[in-house]
Symmetry: C2
Subunit: 113 residues, 2 copies
DNA sequence: CTGGATCCCTCAGGATACTG
DNA sequence: CAGTATCCTGAGGGATCCAG
């Protein structure tokens, strides 16, 4: 979040990992659709660049939320899945989806900046 | 989140509002401490600049999550509180805090980028 | 297919000074 | 007290090309 994720506050630390662009959405997609391959994620997240997708996956892997499994085949088969720790976000993700859909149904729209 | 918050996906739309730097933390602070004045928020969120705090408050107000009340006194008294819609995030905020504290107690630390 | 490597560029966000 | 008004920087992110 702020400086180098060396915040003293647990909430800030967690948010620091999850609040990058696409990050929360990426996690949400994985919660909704289960383990996915790189290409599949690109299709599930229209508009994300390979660079950013790679960065996010690496960072979430380093955070212990994501598992990267590479099959030694040609062409390579790489699958990303949530670790047990990643799965602990399940309730949060569900809650997020619930609120989002409810507000959407109520006609709520964010400001147009 | 991505372009101009004109995403088709409800989840993306909600995240677009909440995912700016400090934003989620600001909401969390308001949930934890109740209505606060500008100066109090600055103290509760060490490191945030007046500019960014102002921006976030304005954007959340425009989103209907926050209420801004100004007393016509001198010096001015401005209080920010969560609207009913903002309060609907309560469960999410609590869940966030729970996970953050638990992981923290487990010794979890984000990667040092 | 799954990325790594580059280049480029915008703009979010920080710092500072000033005002009603 | 509660903000505006500027200026400026850097890093986040897009596009493209290349490689194992």
């Amino acid at each position: 979040m702020n400086e180098k994720n060396v915040s003293c506050c647990p909430v800030e630390r967690l948010l620091g990992v999850v609040s990058g662009q696409w990050t929360a959405y990426l996690l949400w997609v994985l919660h909704q659709n289960g383990p996915q391959r790189f290409g599949a994620l690109q299709k599930l997240i229209p508009g994300i660049s390979t660079k950013v997708l790679t960065e996010r996956l690496r960072m979430l892997e380093a955070s212990g939320l994501l598992l990267r499994e590479q099959a030694a085949t040609i062409p390579p088969q790489v699958t990303y899945s949530l670790t047990p720790r990643g799965l602990e976000l399940r309730a949060l993700m569900d809650g997020l989806g619930d609120v989002a859909r409810r507000w959407d149904a109520e006609g709520w729209r964010p400001p147009v900046r």
